[in-house]
Amino acid sequence: MEIAFYIAGTVAIVATLMVITRHNPVHALLYLNVSLLAHALLFYLLGASFAALLEIIIYAGAIMVLFIFVVMLLNLGKETAEQERKWLKAKVWVGPSLLAGILFAEFLVLVLSSEQSTYSPATVSPREVAVSLFREYLIGVELAAMLLMAAVVGAAHIGRHKRLVLHRFLKEENEREEEKHEEMVL
């Protein structure tokens, strides 16, 4: 079934490329979803069915939904796409792409310089993962729980709709500008 692996890999790469080049945020999100599903398939082919499930349920399901909510909240539509089109010029992306290319080339050299070996991926069942997770990595799980808790509280706090807070110097500047504005109106 190598062919399935290569197909999934190609899909993942193409979808990711699309994500980073789209102008419309919603399109990018959809491509990202495709990429994530391809990832899930890759996981499954590598014998990690539990990870594949989590990828679909949490990543493609929950996290992407969050993104979509935000995009909707901010009402990012055509204007944003226009703006993105203006921003995404060749001179912007050539340099970084070149750097990333070099990085990947180095990585390639390093990986290929070691001995190649094909193998049949061993299936690691959810049971084994669960046992490992709640025995050896128990502390990790608890820490992750704390992290999520902190994230919930933090997100709730940061996301509160506060009125505009300015530094006092900026505030004075603003007031002066407002005064000027009023004078002009008068």
């Binding site: 082919l45 990870a51 995404l88 992306w93 991926p121 690691v124 992290l147 997100a155």
Partner: protein
């Protein structure tokens, strides 16, 4: 439904996805796209973990993936909340507008 692939190919795939993520972070000015690219990079590293775990038949790779997942969830929720705030304060999602903390 098992495939027999060389572990190098999987790792290279992960590396390529990671590099694409980096490109995404650098070339986009919109913060939402940057956050998406970060998600791509996280996924790529998760893929490398899972591949390594399956190579040795150990559950640790998947355990690490679970942790990455938890971390990504936390990061995304905070990141999106920050994006909302930034949008409210600056009326823009341009990362270059946030250069106030220059040296």
């Amino acid at each position: 439904m098992k495939s027999s692939v060389s572990v190098e190919v999987v790792v290279l795939l992960a590396g390529l996805l990671f590099a694409l993520g980096i490109v995404g972070v650098i070339i986009r000015k919109n913060i939402i796209f940057m956050l998406l690219s970060v998600e791509i990079m996280l996924n790529a590293s998760g893929l490398a973990f899972v591949a390594a775990g399956s190579r040795w038949g150990q559950p640790d790779g998947q355990v690490m993936f679970v942790f990455i997942l938890a971390m990504a969830a936390a990061e995304v929720s905070i990141g999106l909340a920050l994006i909302l705030q930034i949008y409210h304060q600056h009326k823009s999602l341009d990362i270059d507008n946030l250069k106030e903390m220059n040296g």
